[in-house]
């Protein structure tokens, strides 16, 4: 039932990505934690790709409705997240 080789491949990607995440994020200073949170939040809207794939794969009406709703919510997450992060970051200025 389980394609073990393929599963181990993506499991590898999953585990390594977590380590990369820890390494990259630990270095972000507390001053930027709010934009980091809203920016990473936008990235977690990557489910938008899942929604597009589910929509494109075809299927019955119910599948299409679910996928379209998912696309709508994930897009709010992505677009809103990047825009609000940009708005916040543009306020971080250093005056000399």
């Amino acid at each position: 039932m389980l394609d073990t080789a393929a599963f181990i491949n993506i499991l590898t990607i999953f585990v390594l990505a977590i380590f990369v995440g820890f390494e990259v994020i630990t270095k972000v200073p507390p001053i930027l934690h709010t934009p980091l949170m809203s920016g990473s939040n936008a990235i977690s809207g990557i489910t938008v790709i899942g929604a597009l794939l589910a929509l494109g794969a075809g299927g019955g009406t119910f599948t299409t409705v679910l996928a379209t709703a998912a696309l709508f919510f994930a897009t709010i997450n992505v677009v809103g997240g990047f825009v609000v992060t940009h708005r916040m970051l543009s306020k971080f200025k250093k005056r000399d």
Binding site: L32, H33, L36, M37, G39, I43, G45, L52
Partner: protein, 469 residues
């Protein structure tokens, strides 16, 4: 486009996400970092559409345009003080998207299996386990985020909602969700089980967040941020899609780190925040004794004169400053003092504000240069050589009781050592306690002056008095 090409494009997107997060690590590069992330996302979206030959374009356009409009309106109109709610809401939308995608894939897979007259299960073990995980984590994230949003927005009570047998109820609901998950894995074709799981997990999300008080919401938001990432990664396992897995796990890791930071800054374990809570407010009978006859009230004029003779001044802002909208006064006073060659800086406690780093955003919005904002560990050694500390809207994070090892709800919490400065001016409406519900001996200390009043009004008076002095 070939599937290999799409996967290469996803690799580029994943690299852009990592570079984006890395660039978010410094104020100078952060704007670029955010844009890199957005470009990565745009590439992944356009590539996916191209690969699929732009099918269902009316629905795709509707979803993308509708979602973009709602997202942009929310993002542009939100006040900076309300940022935690908005991030909470976005987390919730990410969570529900994972629920819906996993549901759509499950239903399509079951339909195909039925038509194909094939034997056996509609999904592989990896897909069914990941579907159940998406449903469970996504629904907890969705409803949990909505409750957190409601609490921060004042729609749902901010107080911890506790009841008898609370932990037992949570364990039973979680147990039920796990049993349903196992049944889905055993027979994915029973799609009604998936929706039952989603419903029960949504209830679990409500049960988990309701007992948590307003002061602990930053930790909950950070944790739900992590969950929304994990839910996206789980959906990636449903679709065997690398970019979902990479992006989801990056965010999952980021949320966990922020959660840990916040817990450490409050000297609490995550388990204590989620299941213990601060509990009932401790009645503090000696409150009168601590303050009796020792509290010295002052006036804006007196503080202005003290500031005139100072060479080093530090502000310690709390969320109360933002609530009173006193930031403008803070900036004006800062500018006036700097014109007199007084060194001014800001001591920011890690839990100041309503989410990690929130206070920095609120001060940056007021055009206060970020190099003046100093973290707790960086500024603490400098307090003994600081002439005046102005505490504005902060309370528990400057309470010296925290340095005592036991006997108080905040014992052991790292604090800003403002009491070591030569003079401490506390701007506050009254002597009422902060979130932890305990008295603050700082207010009665020999070197502390209390300046009672509304933060915004007091700051305006201070600016005027300073300019006259």
């Amino acid at each position: 486009m070939q599937p290999e090409h799409l996967n290469l494009l996803y690799l580029v997107a994943a690299v852009l996400f990592i570079l984006g997060l890395k660039n978010l690590g410094h104020p100078r590069t952060a704007v670029r970092g955010n844009i890199l992330g957005a470009v990565g996302m745009a590439l992944a979206v356009v590539g996916t559409l191209w690969f699929q030959g732009f099918v269902h374009m009316e629905l795709v356009a509707g979803g993308l345009i509708g979602g973009s409009i709602v997202g942009i309106v929310l993002a542009v109109r939100i006040k900076m003080t309300a940022m935690p709610q908005l991030v909470g809401l976005f987390n919730g939308f990410g969570g529900v998207a994972s629920v819906l995608v996993a549901g759509a894939v499950l239903i399509a897979a079951v339909a195909t299996a039925v038509m194909g007259a094939g034997s056996g299960l509609a999904m592989s073990l990896q897909e069914s386990v990941a579907t159940a995980a998406s449903g469970l984590i996504g629904a907890v994230t969705f409803l949990g985020s909505l409750i957190a949003f409601g609490k921060l927005q004042g729609i749902v009570t901010e107080k911890p909602v506790r009841y008898h047998g609370e932990q037992v109820v949570k364990v039973l609901v979680l147990g039920g969700a796990l049993v349903l998950s196992a049944m889905i894995v055993l027979d994915p074709s029973r799609t009604e089980l998936y929706w039952a799981l989603v419903g029960l997990s949504a209830v679990l999300g409500v049960l988990l967040v309701m007992p948590i008080g307003g002061a602990d919401m930053p930790i909950v938001i950070a944790l739900l941020n992590s969950y929304s990432g994990i839910a996206a990664a789980a959906t990636g396992f449903v679709l065997s899609n690398n970019v979902l897995i990479v992006a989801g796990s990056l965010v999952g890791a980021s949320g966990i780190i922020l959660t840990q930071n916040m817990c450490k800054a409050m000297n609490r374990s995550l388990a204590n925040v989620l299941f213990g809570g601060v509990g009932a407010i401790v009645e503090n009978k000696e409150q009168g004794d601590i303050y009796a006859g020792k509290v010295k009230s002052t006036s804006a004029e007196e503080v202005a004169m003290i500031l005139k003779t100072a060479s080093r001044v530090a502000f310690v802002p709390g969320y109360g400053m933002a609530v009173a909208r006193a930031q403008t006064g803070v900036r004006l006073l800062t500018e006036a003092m700097e014109a007199d060659d007084i060194h001014v800086e800001f001591g920011i406690h890690p839990v100041a504000g309503r989410m990690p780093g929130h206070m920095n955003v609120l001060l940056a919005e007021e055009n206060i240069s970020y190099d003046k904002l100093r973290e707790m560990d960086a500024i603490n050694p400098d307090f003994p050589s600081t002439d005046v500390v102005i505490v504005l809207g902060a309370n528990d994070v400057v309470n010296p009781i925290a340095r005592e090892s036991a006997g108080s709800p905040i014992s052991g919490m790292p604090i800003l050592d403002v009491d070591k400065a030569r003079t401490v001016v506390v701007i506050k409406r009254s002597l009422s306690p902060g979130f932890a519900g305990i008295a603050n001996p700082l207010f009665a200390a020999d070197n502390t002056l209390m300046l009672f009043g509304d933060g915004k009004k007091v700051m305006e008076e201070l600016v005027a008095a300073y300019k006259d002095a």
